[in-house]
């Protein structure tokens, strides 16, 4: 009887796989190095050494990162959520209106809490509807969430009567602009969400089942996983992350706006893809998504910092996305397709 035994692949191939897995961090290091050199040669100043820059990049990255965190789960399950941008807008508007409404009755601090709770709570609705459309009515995720994109957008503008909803609530402003030991409150809150999502994705059955559904849904179902219920929870998760981003937006700009998340939808998907997830599902990590979001934030902020026409940021982000997908594909060809023996 022959014995099946396998050994690890050659060191070169393993190294290549490692590099491909960490490509988002490599991009990030390259970009920071690039802007550092540019800043030193052209302006004679430092880019990363400047605490203000780090604060700004961190603040810049929070909203797209929050959207991307929920999106990571959805994409790993081989879905996509196009509605998160306007779910964020809806939450921003509702959060602002409820905070304003509650302030005279319960005081500014409690009103801030009410606004945050209401914004996050209202975001559950598009999440449930998305999940239900996809899991039970078998609507393709792209179409179902595109429909919700329109609905959430319309409802957000209707609630805001087509305008931004200003908020004058000192606690709300603190939420969006306050600092603790120099670190912005929204960065701290986002970091807490990052840790929670990391735990959820890599240490729980929920995360494991998300990978399984994205890898082979039939196998997941055969193993007794209720993919329909799971799918609804995934879209709720994506929507709640967007809702949180929405209320933090309201705090940051002291106003809720229906279009708060409009430009962030594609950034959120780009962050997940740059972070190493496959749009076919089954792969992706929270660390990768964090790196992907930082890559986008560094490009956007860095180009402004070195005073380049801001429209170049679209070009730069686009190029990074394409390179990232090319790396992913060649990695699949080199490593996935090639098996042992």
């Amino acid at each position: 009887m022959t014995t099946i035994s396998t050994t690890a692949p050659p060191v070169g191939r393993r190294l290549l796989a490692r590099v491909a897995d960490l490509r988002a961090w490599l991009f990030l290091i390259l970009l920071i190095g690039f802007f550092e050199i540019w800043a030193r040669t052209v302006y004679g100043s430092t880019f990363v050494g400047n605490f203000y820059n780090l604060q700004s990049i961190g603040t810049f990255a929070t909203a797209p990162l929050l959207l991307a965190l929920g999106q990571t789960f959805v994409i790993i399950s081989s879905g996509i959520d196009l509605s998160v941008g306007f779910t964020m807008g809806l939450a921003a508007v509702v959060g602002a209106e409820i905070a304003n409404f509650a302030a005279p009755h319960v005081g500014v601090f409690a009103a801030m809490l009410c606004g945050v709770a209401a914004g996050v709570a209202v975001s559950v609705i598009p999440g449930v509807v998305n999940g239900w459309l996809i899991a039970h009515l078998r609507v393709p995720p792209f179409i179902g969430t595109l429909g919700m994109y329109g609905v959430a957008r319309g409802v957000a503008f209707l609630l805001a009567t087509g305008m931004t909803v200003p908020v004058s609530n000192s606690w709300m402003t603190w939420l969006g602009n306050g600092r603790v030991h120099g670190v912005p409150v929204i960065v701290i809150l986002t970091l807490i969400v990052v840790l929670a999502m990391q735990y959820l994705l890599s240490e729980t059955r929920f995360g494991q089942h998300t990978y399984a559904i994205g890898g082979n849904r039939a196998a997941a179902v055969r193993a007794g996983i209720n993919w329909q219920r799971h799918t609804i929870w995934l879209y709720i998760l994506a929507a709640v992350c967007a809702g949180l981003a929405g209320v933090l937006y309201t705090g940051r700009f002291s106003a809720g706006a229906a279009q708060a998340g409009e430009p962030l939808l594609l950034d959120s998907i780009a962050a997940v893809v740059i972070g190493g997830a496959s749009l076919f599902g089954g792969s992706g990590t929270i660390a990768g998504t964090v790196a992907g979001s930082l890559v986008i934030a560094v490009i956007q902020y860095g180009l402004v910092f070195v005073d380049v026409d801001p429209f170049w940021q679209f070009v730069a982000v686009g190029v990074v996305i394409i390179i990232s997908v090319l790396v992913d594909q060649s990695q699949r060809r080199f490593l996935g397709g090639q098996q042992d023996e």
Partner: protein
Amino acid sequence: MSEPGHLLSVQSISKSFGAVQALKDVSFDLDLGEVLALAGDNGAGKSVLIKSIAGVHHPDFGEIIFDGKSVSSASPQEARALGIETIYQDLALADNLSIGANIFLGREPKTKLFGFLPILDRRAMADAAQKTMRLLDFHTERLDAPVAAFSGGQRQAVAIGRAIFWNAKLLIMDEPTAALGVPEQRRVLNLVHSLKEQGKAVIFISHNLQDIFAVADRIVVLRRGIEAGERRPQETTQDEIIRLMVGG
């Protein structure tokens, strides 16, 4: 012909789909530690037969007794819970997960971090994976690698490993060698041998008579839904099996 005490006893089962009689009065028994091969041309009723045993179809007439209990009207989940496991051609593995994660898919073990935070017990999964795969003479140190990194025969072993880890008594293997290269086919045949050594019962379906003669203790031949014959490999020839399969 079927007395109690057999692990599996298929007792004159018949099944029709509309006007098509897929199975007519088919009977056989199977014991632990035995490999039964099902031979037959396309449309002979092999898959209807195994799907009836696995709870996917329910026979119109006749009984299927497994481990002393009737499974004629069991659901696939009930059949699996009793210890009847089908290894499908698509393997039903999540290719992006490790061997351990596949074995435990849907019932992952948990442990506590710092005594309070529940987390997946990856070590338990990896240990169980290594131990189980060793039973199948599959030695690997790559317990973190996704199963996509392994070959077709190795993935077959993972699917079988999952079944035996959860105490399957009867493994139904539907064309397990079909999509594989020659060395990999040999590996799967060796897997069947080691399942037999561990006292499992196996139903093995194949188009390849060489494979059937290599592993089977008995061969049941089906032809258009009827049982054309039952032979022992040492008492028959490939020619005779083919004659039984095509009739004449």
